[in-house]
C-alpha cells in the first residue's frame, strides 16, 4: 500500500453496497440549505460505473415526467447518505448508453426475479 492509498483509505466508505450497471438503486442525497439538512432520494438505473479508489463514480438514470434525467455521484462522497439496491438488472454491457436513445418499453432493463 503506497502513501497515496493510505491517505485515500481514510476517506473511503465501507457502508456502500455492491452494485453494477443495470441495477436499480435508490440514492439518498444530503442537501444542505441555509442551516438545515434534508434528504432527497434519486431512484433509477445505474448506467455506468467508472474509476477506482476514491475516484470511483456511478451514473443513475431515471425518467422524470417523460424527460430523461441522469446524475453522477462519487461513490465515496459524504453527500450520499445511503444507497439501497432495489433490483439486479440483466444486461450484457457495462455502459448502458443505448438506453438514452430508446423510448417506451425498450428503454427498460429486465430485472432478475
Amino acid at each position: 500500500m503506497n502513501t497515496i492509498d493510505k491517505i485515500e483509505s481514510k476517506y473511503l466508505r465501507t457502508d456502500i453496497p455492491e452494485f453494477k450497471s443495470g441495477d436499480k438503486v435508490k440514492v439518498n442525497i444530503r442537501i444542505s440549505e441555509e442551516n438545515k439538512d434534508r434528504i432527497q432520494s434519486f431512484e433509477g438505473i445505474v448506467i455506468k460505473t467508472h474509476g477506482y479508489g476514491i475516484n470511483k463514480a456511478f451514473t443513475v438514470r431515471k425518467i422524470s415526467f417523460n424527460v430523461g434525467v441522469e446524475r453522477t455521484f462519487l461513490m465515496h462522497s459524504p453527500v450520499i447518505q445511503s444507497i439501497t439496491k432495489l433490483n439486479t438488472g440483466i444486461v450484457r454491457r457495462s455502459k448502458l448508453y443505448y438506453l438514452r436513445k430508446k423510448v417506451g418499453k425498450k428503454a427498460k432493463v429486465e430485472f432478475k426475479k
Binding site: N2, T3, I4, K6, I7, E8, K10, Y11, R30, S32, G53, I54, N55, L74, H76, S77, P78, V79
Partner: protein, 207 residues
Amino acid sequence: MVNSIYGKKVGSTQVFNNAGNAIFITAIEAEPCIIVQVKDAANDGYNALKVGFGPVKEKKVTNPIKGIFEKGKLPLKKYLKEIRFDNFDKDYKCGDQIDIQIFKVGDKVKITGNSKGKGFAGVIERHNFHRGPVSHGSHNIRQPGSVGMCSSPSRIAKGKKMPGRLGGKKVTIPPTEIIDIIQDQNLILVKGSVPGPSGNLLFIKKV
C-alpha cells in the same frame, strides 16, 4: 517562531471536506528537520537555522559534510539547507527538531520547488499564444507571427515572447490552504498542485 520546513512531494489525489466537496490535494512528506547550526545576526549577519533532513547511506556523504554532523554528534542526513527567518523569539539549539507541528489545518502556505523541465518549447506552450488556422493552405499553425516592426527600429523589442527553454526553474506557488495534517506519517495535504514531479524537494513556508 520558525515557520518553514522542507518536504518531498508524494503525489496527488482528492479528498472530501465536511461540506461534501471533493478537493484536489497534493501530499507532501515533511520529516522532522534536525537543527545543525543556529546562525544569528550578531555572528553571521542574518538569522537562520541550518537544518539537515532525509535519510542517507553513510558512504554517500562526503567527509567535509560528515564533519558538520559529527561536530554536533548528529545522525547523517541527505540534505543540508538553511531556513531564514527574522524574529528569533525562541531559543533554538543544535540537535533540536522542527516538525510539521508548526502548521495547523487551515493555514496558508507558500510552496517553492523546481518545476518539471519541458525542454525547448514553442510559443503556444510557453506563452499561451493562440494558434493560426489549420486549413485553407495556412502555414501559420503554431508560429509566433510577427515579431516586430520594419527598418525602424530594425531590431526586436527586448523581452519579446519567443520559443525557448521552458520549466526546470525554481517556482513559488501562491499561498494555498492546508487541508489535512497526518502527524504519524509526517504528511501535509495542501490544496491544489505543487511544482515538479513526485519526489521533488519542496520548501514550505507559512504566510
